[in-house]
Every structure is written in C-alpha cells, then in structure tokens.
C-alpha cells in the first residue's frame, strides 16, 4: 500500500467537506428565497477561524484535545471507505471499525461537553449521547441485513456482493435514516441546537479549536454520506472503471446531500425525547425488515 493511497483520499475529504457545506447553505438559501452566501463561504469561515487564537475556558486536557481527536477520527474513518476502486485501509471486517471510529467523533464531542461545569455544553453532550444511543439499534439492523445479504462485513466488499431483494432496499433505507440522524441534520440536531443550547459543546469553543471541531463535524457528515452513497452507487456500477465509479460516488453524495438539505429546510428541530421516540419507532419497524431478510427475501 503506497502512502499516497492514504494521503489523497484524506486531503480530498478534508477539502470537499466544507465545500459541500457551502453548497448546502446555498441550496437552503434558495428554498428560503434568499441569495445565500458564496459556495466557498464555509471555507472562508473555516480559514478565518483556524487563524484565530482561541480563548480557553479551562485548561483541562480533554477539552483541548477533543477537537483534534475528533478530526483525526473522522478522517481515519474516511480511510476505510472505498473511493472508486481504491480503499486505502481495507480490512475484511472494517464496517464496525468504521462505525466505532465515526463514533469517536461523538465521543470527543461528548467528553469535551461534559468536561466543563456548564449546563449548555453538558446538555449538548447529553443529547448527542442519547441520539447515538437511540439510533444505534437502527444502524445495527441495517448492517445486519447487509451482512446477511452479502456474507461480509467489509465496506469495500459488501456493496459489490449484494443480492437484490426487497429487504436490501429497505436496509439501505434504514442506513439512510441512520446516516441522517447520525449526521445531526434537522430535525435531529438537538445536540447542536443553537437557539436552545447555544450549539451545545461548541458553545465554549472559539478560534482555532472551534474551527477544528467544526471541520471534524463536517468531515464526519461527509464520511457518513459517502458511506451511504457507496452502498447506492457501487452495486450498480460493477465493472465500471475506477475513476467513473468515483465520479458517480461523488455525484451520488452531492445528490443525497441536496436532498438532505431540502428535508432539513422543511422541518423544525425535534426535542430530544421526541427524537428518541421517533428512532425507537424506526427501530421497531426495522425489526420487521430484519425478519424479512432472515426469511431470505
């Protein structure tokens, strides 16, 4: 494995994630009949944040390290994903590795949130944890069905070895739902609710640390969307050349993101207890899908 095989996807993810966010802002602005900021606005914001000195509310190590761990975890998660024909760090059981590394972004967010005596950051951390808790079963069922269907838990192997069946479509639907919730999109953004809890954990961050954290969250979203996009594109593009697959993946991620943003724009934020209830309902429904899958359909 050459070093560039890691460096290229990593830099790609780091660059595209903020642009994607900028595009989302533009789409949202159109829905709201506004001009909206330029597509590179998120990048401008990010660069200005990264150049600013933070003001630290504490000198606790966990608070200061959390943004970096979050960013590294989000990027590390990107390394196990397939990009066209390339998967930089491929293990045959890497789905759960991916899942846990993505979860580390949340863990960094939560630990940082709880590391301060501040009910705002605490509430953010608290909500993020509950959100993860309630969506995990849905995600688990989705993975389970995909694993039953493809006989594998390898991210770059599974999409290519799915057999078309009713349950697999439902499973990808469940995966999409889980990605939506994990990504913290409205109405599931209670953990970063600005009007309620001042963006939760981020409330105490400033300057460079805030920039790094925001970047990490954007990369996390991107990585999750890429996962979903891969499960949609790869099964349909067997035998395509690698670059074409990659471009299709990118297109799919953009399309999914625009759809997500449009849904976001048409919803209010759910309270955390409502979100938990909703996730539970989806989980119960997903059990039916699992039943269907285990019957071989």
């Amino acid at each position: 494995m050459a070093l560039w095989e890691i460096i290229v996807p990593v830099s790609l993810v780091l660059t595209i994630a903020p642009i994607l966010d900028g595009m989302g802002r533009k789409v949202k602005a159109k829905v709201q009949m506004r001009q909206g900021p330029p597509i590179l606005q998120t990048w401008y914001d990010l660069t200005s944040l990264l150049s600013m000195e933070p003001i630290l509310p504490t000198d606790g190590l966990s608070f200061r390290l959390a943004p970096y761990v979050a960013l590294a975890s989000a990027v590390a998660a990107a390394t196990v994903l397939p990009y066209g024909g390339l998967s930089p760090l491929r293990f045959s059981g890497d789905f759960f590795v991916f899942l846990y590394v993505v979860a580390m972004v949340s863990i960094a967010y939560i630990v940082a949130g709880f590391s301060l005596p501040n009910t705002y950051t605490n509430a953010g951390a608290n909500r993020e944890m509950m959100m993860v808790l309630s969506i995990e079963p849905v995600l688990g069922v989705a993975i389970g069905i995909l694993a039953i269907n493809s006989h594998s838990l390898c991210l770059s192997y599974m999409p290519l070895h799915l057999h078309a069946s009713p349950s697999i479509f439902l499973a990808i639907g469940l995966l999409a739902y889980a990605v939506y919730v994990e990504g913290g999109f409205v109405p599931f953004d209670a953990a970063e609710a600005e009007t309620e809890i001042l963006e939760g954990t981020l409330c105490e961050y400033s300057g460079r640390l805030l920039g790094v954290f925001k970047w990490a969250l954007m990369v996390k979203r991107f990585v999750l969307l890429w996962l979903l996009g891969s499960f949609i594109v790869l099964p349909l593009t067997k035998g395509f050349p690698g670059w074409a697959v990659f471009l299709l993946q990118l297109t799919a991620v953009l399309a999914i993101y625009f759809a997500v943003v449009t849904v976001e724009a048409h919803n209010a934020r759910l309270r955390i207890d409502q979100a938990i209830r909703m996730n539970t309902k989806v989980f119960l429904a997903s059990l039916v899908v699992l039943l269907i899958a285990s019957l071989g359909w």
Binding site: P57, G60, V69, L133
Partner: protein, 684 residues
C-alpha cells in the same frame, strides 16, 4: 513431578504461607496486610509463571492427596486472569484497606483473601465434580465473608445475606442435583469418566448447569443479588468478585456443557439468548445508577451478557459442526476474550472507584467532580478503563466486541444478528454510562465531597497501572492471547484456527463466509499519526488566553452550574422507564421469593435448632451471648445453629482463640465444618 506441577505447589504453598504468616500478626493491622499481600503477590506471580509454563507444555493431569487435577487451555485462561488480578489487588490492597482499619482483623482479611484466591485456582483446575463443588462452596463462603466485611452496616449485611441465600438456593443446590444425576448415571464424578460415559443429553442437566452457573455469573434473571453484593464489598474484593469470581461460572459452564456434556445447539442458543437479555437489561439498569460501585456492578451483569453471548454463539456453532465449527471456535474465543478483557477493565474500574472512595470517602457520583486535576494518574487510568469497556478503539474492549460482532453478524441467522444488534446498541449504552462514570468524577467543577486531596499512594497506582497497560496491550496486540482463547474451542471440535502472528497482530477468524481480519496495530498507527498531524498543523499555543466559563452574562456559582450524575440521559431513561418499572417488579418478585424461601428455610432450621438446643444448652451456655442476634436475618446462623449448638461444647476453647472476634467468624468456621461433614456424608 514436573516444573508445572511444582509451580502449582508453590502457588498453593504461598497462599498457605500467607495465612500462616498473618495469624501471629493479629494485633498489627497494617503489617498483617503488607506481609500477607506481599506473599499473595508472589503467589499470583507464581500462578502467572504456572500459566505460561503450562500453556507452553500443553495439557497435564496430576493428583494431590487423591484429588485429581487437570489443566488445559480453558483452565489457563482463568489462571491468567486470576494471576493478573491477583497481582493487581495484592499491590493495591495494603494501602486501600486502610479505609477499613477501624474494623480491625487485618489478619482475618488476608486469610479470607488467600482462601478465596486459592479456592478459585483450585476450582478451575480440579477435575472431579465432588471436589469442584467443595472448592466452589469454599469460594462462595470466603467471598461471602469478604462481602460482609463491613458487617456493621445494615445494607452490607442485607446484601451479603441475599448473596448467600441466592448462591445456595440457585447455585449450589442445582449443581449438587446435577452432580447427583450424573453420579447416578455414570457412577463416578471424575470429569474424564463423565465425559466418556456418554451421558444422555438430558435437557434437565443443561438446565441445572444453566441455572447453577448462571446465578453465579449473575445473568438475567438471577442477577438480582449482584448489584447489591459487589458494591458492598471492599473495592479490591469487588474487583476480584467482578473480575474473576463470576468468570469462574463461565468456566464451569463451558467445562460442564462442552467438555463433560456435548455442546448442543439449543443450549448454545439459550446461552446466547440469556446473554443478550442480560447484557441489555444489565447495562440499561447501569445507565441510571449514580453510585459508582453499583453502576460498575450492573455493568458486570451487562458485560457478563457479552461473554455469554459469545460463548453461546460458540457453543451453537460448535454443535452445528461442519464448516461452521471454526466459526464456533472463533465465537467462543470472542466470548472468552471478552472474559479476559472484562476482568482487566472491570478490575481496574473497581480499583479506581476504590481510589476515589479512599480519598473522598464517597462513591456517590452526584457529590464528586473535578478530580482530574487532583488525581491525574487515576483519572487517566479510569479514562482508559472506561473507554476500554465502552469498546473504543484501540483498546482491548473494542477487539473483543469486534470479534463478538463478527461472530453474530456473519452468522447468517436472523436471531444471532438481532443479538448482535443488541450488543451494538448496548455498546453505546455502555459508552454513555462510562462517560458519565468518568466525567462525573474527574471533570467539571469540584464536587461537594471533594476537598483538598491528592493522588493515591504508589502501591495503588501500580496495581491499576498494571491493568491499564494490559488493557492497551491486548487491544493493540490481541494476537498475544488469541491462541490461548481459541484453545478450548479447538479442543472440543478438533478444528484449529489460524491466528496471525503476534507481531503483525492480524485477527483472522476463519468464518463460514471466509476470513475476516483486522490489523489494530496499523489502524492505531494511522489514528495516532492523524491526530499528531492535526496537532502539528494547527497547534494550540500555550499562551492562549484564558476566559471564564460562559454563563450567558450573569454570574452563576460554578457548584450550581453543570449537570450532576443523576441528570445524565434523563430523557432516554424516561423513555425506557417501562423497563425499569418492570425490572424492579421482577427484582422485587425475586427478592420476595428468596425471602419467602429463606424464611421457610430458617423456620425449618430453627425447629431443628430448637430440638438440638436442649442438648446443646446442656453442654454449654457459653454461646448464650449471641442468642440475642437470633432475631436478625442471618440465614447462615439458622442453617448452622444446630451444629453450632453442638460445637458450643467446645466454645470455651473457641472463645479463647477468637477472643474478641465477631459472631461471623464463629459461623464461618462452623459452616466450613458443616460443609465438610455434609460432603463426607455424601461421599460415603
């Protein structure tokens, strides 16, 4: 005699020596503890040597004084755990036990500790059902006495009593019955004879073992004693209870159902199901605890569920055989890996909770906070342990959970996938709970119970450091222990599984579907490099300005600002409140059943006692002093009182030996005698 056998003799000798060494030190609390634990440390070290030596040499059998022993991979896994935790607690205890100095009896503590450890070593190595039960009972008894160490606390006495009754009714009794059934069929209680005598696969036997070992392991619905009993004990003992003792039950389960009986698919499924239910319920209950040790105890239940899930899936697929046999071996190895890992991080967590208790005098998470700055090393160790148990890469908990996921999700069975889903969900719940455990104690503002305190003594840190380093080591290099862990499965199936070499640390379980591998070392490297790169590219200057915590403009006292442990995850707990309500009803029911059963038992015993007491009183009135206590709920007293009454005859001698010792000791000795009497009678 081989070196291995000599090492075993040395282990037992050292435990014996520790007892002999401390008996003369009855008046010197500290010295008894230091000397006693120095010797038990050596004993644990010898045990480690024995484990390594025995592993390298392969299975061996020997016999002492007519007691047959057999040591194979399964035994060695437990020996490994015992030796590591033995070392850790031996290092930790001398300082920690200062907390209990007011209770005195340091020598007795060491005696019980050694008895407990030795009995566990013997349980996992002996190869005769009768002796197994004998040591099993000795383990239960010594652990009971350690649990009720703080017997002047009403709650502790109750917890201990509950433990005692449950163990006898739900563990010893079923196992005795099972032994009886097997004896009646095979005519012998030797494991090898039993294994070769093709016992009929009677569901009853499986059920009895399931109940007998399940109640000891604390699986649902027989877990209700555990969250009371484990926190009641001193923390170092809790570490052993949660770290090792309940694992001995897993040993017993595998030994009895895979080696003595045949692995069976329905049984494997039942174990996996019980495991899933247990891990779900145990952990969800743990989620809302705010007492540090109670929280950990509930997690012991939950994590035991993971172990059972792995082992259950293993048994299922081993029984299924064919191309799935290797998959089964790997699944069982996953369960056993989690057993080892749980021993490490749960031991560590109990020791951490003990450290906080040692310094602050409380284990109420609501009253703690901000300890990270005062006890930085403990904070770091606790953080590693918390992340391990939550399964965060690259720590050991992640590796064993990853293996469990592989063995459930790749099973192509809807049920096992569902179990896996629950395991995944509960992994998040564990994370939630341990983030609370860690942050409520070590982060945030100083809690009301936190004064000017400092780090715990070096001895305690050393004990925890040992476990911490192993948590990391087994996470990054699981290849170190995986060959040992696959051994039991391989021994049963005869299928050997290829594990990557230790240094490349590939985990390659051969599954029915093909290989599944993961290289934690490489992945950790990537993670570390990325973090370092982020830190290097966007460094945080030391000179960064300090600000105050944002209170939205109006000052708020920091003690009032920030959630307490009881406030964590409120909406989620509210959401699953039905579970808690049902659970508490079930627990109440179980508690009532136990209470009713024991009350009946007590009445029976009292009737016997009354009959005997006339004889007894005639012999001596020396024991009259403790008749006052008869009204209390001391079941053991009721059980043994007939015998005690007889023994009262020699009470003057006992009074002399035990001078100012409490009633408990008298009972302990009496009960040991009773067990010997019963067993001898049974053996005849």
């Amino acid at each position: 005699m081989s070196l291995t056998e000599n090492l075993m003799i040395m282990v037992m000798g050292l435990y014996g020596a520790s007892v002999l060494a401390v008996v003369p030190l009855r008046r010197s609390y500290g010295r008894a503890l230091r000397i006693g634990h120095a010797i038990t440390f050596l004993a644990s070290l010898s045990l480690l040597a024995f484990t390594v030596e025995a592993w390298l040499r392969g299975p061996l059998s020997f016999s002492w004084f007519g007691v047959p022993f057999h040591v194979d991979g399964l035994s060695l896994i437990l020996c490994l755990v015992l030796s590591i935790l033995g070392m850790a607690t031996s290092l930790y205890s001398p300082s920690y036990m200062e907390v209990y100095e007011r209770l005195g009896r340091g020598w007795l503590y060491v005696v019980l500790y050694s008895t407990f450890m030795a009995s566990m070593v013997l349980v996992v190595t002996v190869s005769n059902m009768l002796w197994f039960l004998f040591f099993w009972e000795a383990m239960t008894l010594s652990s009971y006495l350690l649990i009720v160490w703080e017997a002047d606390e009403e709650s502790v006495r109750r917890a201990g009593w509950r433990y005692f009754v449950t163990m006898h009714l739900a563990s010893t009794l079923p196992l005795l019955l099972a032994a009886g059934i097997m004896y009646s069929e095979a005519g012998s209680l030797d494991f090898s004879v039993l294994a070769s005598s093709h016992l009929g696969l009677s569901p009853l036997l499986y059920l009895l073992f399931l109940i007998g070992f399940g109640s000891k392991a604390g699986v649902f619905p027989l877990h209700f004693w555990l969250p009371d009993a484990h926190p009641a004990a001193p923390s170092n003992v809790s570490a052993l209870l949660s770290g090792v003792m309940i694992k001995v039950a897993v040993y017993g389960l595998i030994r009895s159902t895979c080696f003595i009986l045949k692995p069976s698919e329905p049984f494997g499924f039942a174990v996996a199901l019980v495991g899933t239910v247990t891990l779900t319920i145990g952990t969800l209950y743990a989620l809302r605890q705010t007492d540090a040790k109670r929280l950990l105890a509930y997690h012991s239940v939950g994590q035991m569920g993971y172990i059972w899930l792995g082992v259950g899936v293993g048994i299922f697929f081993i029984a299924k055989g064919g191309s799935w046999a290797a998959f089964g071996v790997m699944a069982m190895a996953a369960g056993l890996f989690h057993l080892v890992n749980h021993a490490l991080f749960k031991g560590l967590l109990f020791l951490s909770a003990g450290s906080v208790l040692y310094r602050t005098g409380t284990r109420d998470l609501n009253r703690l906070g901000g300890l990270g700055r005062l006890m930085p090393v403990t904070a770091l160790f606790t953080f590693v342990a918390a992340m391990s148990i939550a399964g965060v890469p690259p720590l050991n908990g992640f590796m064993s959970k990853w293996l469990i996921y592989q063995s459930t999700f790749l099973s192509r069975s809807g049920w096992f996938v569902l179990f896996g889903v629950f395991a995944l969900f509960i992994s998040a719940a564990t994370l939630a709970s341990f983030i609370k455990f860690y942050t409520a104690q070590f982060e945030g503002s100083r809690g009301e119970a936190v004064g000017d305190i400092r780090e715990v003594p070096a001895g305690m840190l050393a004990g925890k450091g040992l476990l911490t380093s192993l948590c990391v080591l087994f996470g990054v290099l699981p290849g170190l222990v995986l060959p040992l862990l696959t051994d039991p499965g391989s021994a049963v199936t005869g299928v050997s599984v290829r594990i990557g070499s230790v240094w490349s640390a590939n985990v390659i379980p051969t599954t029915g579907a093909g290989a599944s591998h993961f290289n934690p070392l490489l992945f950790v490297l990537v993670l570390v490099v990325l973090t370092a790169a982020a830190l290097a590219a966007l460094p945080l200057k030391k000179s960064s300005r300090r600000g105050r915590i944002w209170t939205t403009g109006e000052p708020v006292p920091s003690a009032d600002y920030g959630l307490r442990a009881m406030h964590y995850y409120g909406p989620f707990e509210h959401h699953i409140d039905w579970l808690y309500r049902t659970g508490s009803r079930v627990a109440d029911g179980c508690g009532r059943t136990v209470a009713a059963a024991s009350a009946a038992y007590i009445r029976l015993c009292r009737a016997l006692s009354d009959a005997c007491s006339s004889v007894g009183r005639a012999v001596s009135r020396a024991g009259a002093g403790y008749e006052r206590h008869a009204g209390e709920e001391f079941l053991d007293e009721a059980i043994v009182s007939p015998i005690v009454d007889i023994i009262k005859g020699s009470a003057s001698v006992l009074e002399d030996v035990l001078s100012n010792q409490r009633l408990m000791t008298v009972i302990a000795l009496a009960f040991l005698t009773a067990v010997v009497v019963i067993l001898l009678a049974g053996g005849v």
